[in-house]
């Protein structure tokens, strides 16, 4: 066979392979680039939604009232599809089209969360996104003999609402809510601690919190099995610190975070399953990482899921968490601003913070 024939055969074999390979790889590169772009779109839309939520709630005097909050949430939620649609180049009425790729939107607030999920309308087979009732971060505990029942609604800090059924077959219950607090510093007793406080609000807070905590401990210790008592112990038996304070490493906080995680994920998985069963897309709950959970467990957040968008050879599957930095739901230590003795404003972690001659670095 002539050399030129060999070349032709080689070309006939190699050229298609190389062409297909190069096409495939460039498609993958485009897909990766597009995924990055979609991620940005999603983050931007979620951020815009959070800004709308903040604008609506912080400027509204009545935002703590459920009706008003729902109205604010509806308004904030409408920002999401329109921002997303604008990014994707859809305009006008087609913005609702984007919502068919959104299996869930979640607003995690101070003591519970709101979810927007596709819900089947009663007279047709179509789905539309609807706001579900507020879900509290709550868990039910039963006593050893199975007679008493304790329901605790946790929150992002040491505030809890408690419902105690002395007899769970009977529908009457005692309910109380308040902050879980112990006397800071092991040796000081209540009265000297209160006398040293020069702030009436702080005094009132501690008095009410101690009162509530005493009642809470009493209910838990006299009715619950030992493992529940260990979980819900307000005072750490080793360090004698308040184990309910946010950020403290304690079994109470482990339990609190587990309850918050469980209530959110179980509802999300369920609603995504129902939706994917009824549509062609296969929606699945993505796994949130530990650091993302950490964000959700310490802040007011908006979690948006976007799934099923065509993306090169695959389907896009993404989610994002937008954190609120300005709201009336919760005040964390990071939100506080102090006026130092130098007359300037400082955050609590600022090394230059110096109040009454005592600086943080000392």
């Amino acid at each position: 066979m002539k050399l030129s024939n060999l070349i032709v055969i080689f070309l006939a074999l190699a050229l298609p392979v190389i062409l297909v390979l190069s096409f495939y790889v460039s498609l993958q590169v485009d897909t990766a680039r597009l995924r990055g772009t979609y991620d940005s779109y999603l983050i931007n839309a979620a951020h815009e939604t959070m800004v709308a939520f903040e604008l609506n709630t912080t400027r509204s005097r009545y935002s703590s009232i459920a009706d008003s909050k729902i109205r604010d949430l509806e308004a904030a939620k409408n920002v999401f599809p329109s921002t997303l649609a604008t990014s994707f180049g859809y305009t006008g009425s087609s913005s609702s089209y984007m919502m068919s790729y959104v299996p869930a939107l979640v607003f995690t607030l101070y003591d519970g969360y709101y979810m927007y999920i596709p819900t089947k309308t009663w007279n047709s087979n179509t789905f539309s996104h609807e706001l579900k009732p507020y879900v509290y971060y709550s868990k039910e505990y039963e006593s050893t003999n199975g007679k008493e029942k304790l329901i605790i609604n946790f929150s992002l800090d040491n505030y809890v609402a408690v419902y105690f059924y002395e007899d769970k077959t009977n529908k009457t219950y005692v309910s109380r809510s308040g902050y879980l607090e112990i006397i800071p510093g092991r040796e000081s007793d209540k009265n000297t601690f209160l006398a040293n406080l020069d702030n009436e609000t702080a005094r009132k807070y501690y008095r009410e919190a101690w009162n509530f905590t005493e009642w809470f401990n009493n209910i838990v210790k006299s009715n619950m099995p030992s493992e529940t008592i260990e979980l819900l112990a307000v005072e750490d038996t080793i360090t004698h610190h308040n184990s309910a304070l946010p950020g403290a490493e304690s079994r109470f906080n482990d339990e609190r975070t587990a309850v918050i995680k469980n209530t959110i994920t179980s509802n999300l998985i369920q609603s995504m399953n129902i939706y994917s069963k009824n549509t062609a897309s296969n929606f699945q709950m993505p796994e949130l990482t530990e650091s993302e959970w950490d964000t959700v467990l310490n802040n007011v957040c908006f979690i948006a899921f976007l799934q099923g968008l065509p993306l090169g050879t695959t389907l896009y599957n993404g989610y994002t968490i937008a954190v609120s930095s300005e709201n009336k739901e919760i005040v964390t230590a990071d939100d506080l601003v102090f006026i130092g003795s130098d007359g300037a404003y400082h955050r609590i972690w600022c090394p230059h913070l110096d109040v009454d001659g005592i600086s943080r670095t000392q």
């Binding site: 050399l3 030129s4 060999l6 070349i7 080689f10 070309l11 190699a14 190389i18 390979l21 190069s22 790889v25 460039s26 993958q28 590169v29 990766a32 680039r33 995924r35 990055g36 991620d39 940005s40 983050i43 931007n44 979620a46 951020h47 959070m50 650091s291 964000t295 994002t320 968490i321 937008a322 954190v323 930095s325 990071d334 955050r347 972690w349």
Partner: protein, 174 residues
């Protein structure tokens, strides 16, 4: 005489087609795959950083190690455009400092960001800042060398692998 010339030309052609052409094609695909990795890593780094409001050392070293895994050397250019007010002493003294015009941005570049990372392990950003990251290769990849050899089209300072993304920071990083 004519026949032997044709044979020599044919052998040359065969060598080019059977060795150089596949080598070029494969090295170019190799660069594409590197670019895919770079693009993904940069997107992940930028989106993650602007979503948590800070550039952490952990995220930065993750980006660098992902980049290094492609076997090339890279130049990572970061820029944070910090949003700031445009203050001016204008009008009556009683009103104090007033703001004029739009908010302005000032920029912080790679070396300054890395200094912060070295000192605290974290570079904090705030809501509204803009983070831009551009990554390009600094070494000559095989595909670039081959191209240089055959076409002489590309200069020494050109790059073939590039990844870039920018975005607005969505949250105050503490």
């Amino acid at each position: 005489m004519g026949d032997s010339l044709i044979t020599v030309v044919t052998i040359l052609l065969a060598a080019i087609l059977m060795f150089i052409f596949p080598m070029m094609a494969i090295s170019e695909r190799n660069d594409d795959v590197s670019e895919l990795t770079v693009q993904t890593a940069v997107a992940e780094f930028v989106n993650n950083s602007r979503n948590i409001g800070k550039i952490t050392e952990a995220n930065y070293s993750k980006l660098i190690s992902t980049l290094n895994s492609t076997g090339n050397t890279y130049d990572v250019q970061m820029e944070v455009q910090v949003i700031d007010e445009n203050p001016a002493k204008k009008g009556p003294i009683t009103s104090g400092e007033t703001k004029i015009g739009e908010n302005i941005y000032y920029s912080i570049y790679t070396t300054q960001i890395l200094e912060d990372l070295e000192a605290d392990g974290t570079k904090y950003m705030k809501e509204g800042d803009i983070l831009t990251v551009t990554v390009s290769n600094t070494n000559n990849t095989i595909s670039q060398m081959l191209k240089n050899f055959f076409y002489g089209l590309t200069g020494n300072d050109t790059y073939s692998i590039v990844g870039s993304l920018s975005g607005i920071v969505t949250v105050d990083g503490k």
